[in-house]
Amino acid sequence: MKPILSCREVTQLVSEGLDRRLGFSERVALRLHFAICRSCTNFNWQIGFLRQAMKHLADAESPGKP
């Protein structure tokens, strides 16, 4: 894995991180990128939030449920 990832590559890796266990070098590469990229940091947070929202959607106790 190359040390410098583009934002496009980061978005794919962030998403894959929700579906498989990332390797050590992948996690390091992400951290290095987040340290210098506000957009990808926001993206990472938002994708995590999306998963949380999907959990709520299936959850019986969320608002607006019959």
Binding site: S6, E16, L18, I47, A53, A58, G64
Partner: protein, 192 residues
């Protein structure tokens, strides 16, 4: 009221919830009705195995997930007239410049946790889900709604893990954009 009738009534009370759950995944009212009907019948015949071990709704949802996967399997054998893949990927590419950087910065979302308390947010989320291309949506919902692992999804859909990850990624990109446009980006103006 005799115990069997009581069980039937308690199961019946969960129908609306189950139907909603099934429709989110299957996107087809009839298929969702069928899956729920099969679930309720299976549950009635399995009262002994329920025995109050878990929440009734949780137990029923577990049965429903299997019925939904059966329905996806059946539908998978039918030919699909979906051309959405190429179109889907092209839209994604437009977010980045040729060097792979964001074309426009990704703004932070203000107080997302508060959104999870609002029914309107979930209406928007459901409508964003409905806007996903069919194949992409099916893979995403299998992952995030049914809670299947990637290898199970690959097996059911007959695709490679890499394909699966690409589809899930596209779904998340599209949903993020949709939520930003229709919910988080609209926060400055009063909501209807």
């Amino acid at each position: 009221m005799s115990p069997p009738d009581d069980f039937r009534r308690r199961i019946e009370q969960q129908r609306a919830y189950l139907l909603r759950f099934a429709r989110l995944q299957l996107r087809d009212r009839d298929a969702a009705e069928d899956a729920v009907q099969e679930t309720l019948l299976a549950a009635l015949g399995a009262e002994a195995s329920y025995a109050g071990r878990s929440e009734l709704r949780t137990w029923l949802t577990g049965i429903l997930k299997h019925k939904i996967i059966d329905a996806i399997r059946r539908a998978g054998r039918e030919p699909q007239a979906s051309l959405d893949d190429a179109e889907d990927g092209a839209a994604l590419e437009e977010l980045f410049d040729p060097s792979g950087h964001w074309g426009a910065p990704v703004p932070a979302w203000r107080d997302p946790d508060a959104s999870l308390e609002q029914a309107q947010f979930f209406e928007v989320l459901e409508s964003c889900l409905a806007g996903l291309p069919a194949k992409t949506a099916r893979a995403f919902m299998m992952r995030e709604h049914l809670g299947l692992e990637t290898d199970e999804i690959c097996k059911e859909l007959g695709i490679t893990p890499t394909n699966c990850w690409v589809m899930l990624h596209r779904a998340r990109m599209a949903l993020r954009l949709c939520l930003e446009a229709r919910w988080f980006g609209a926060q400055e103006t009063p909501r209807r």
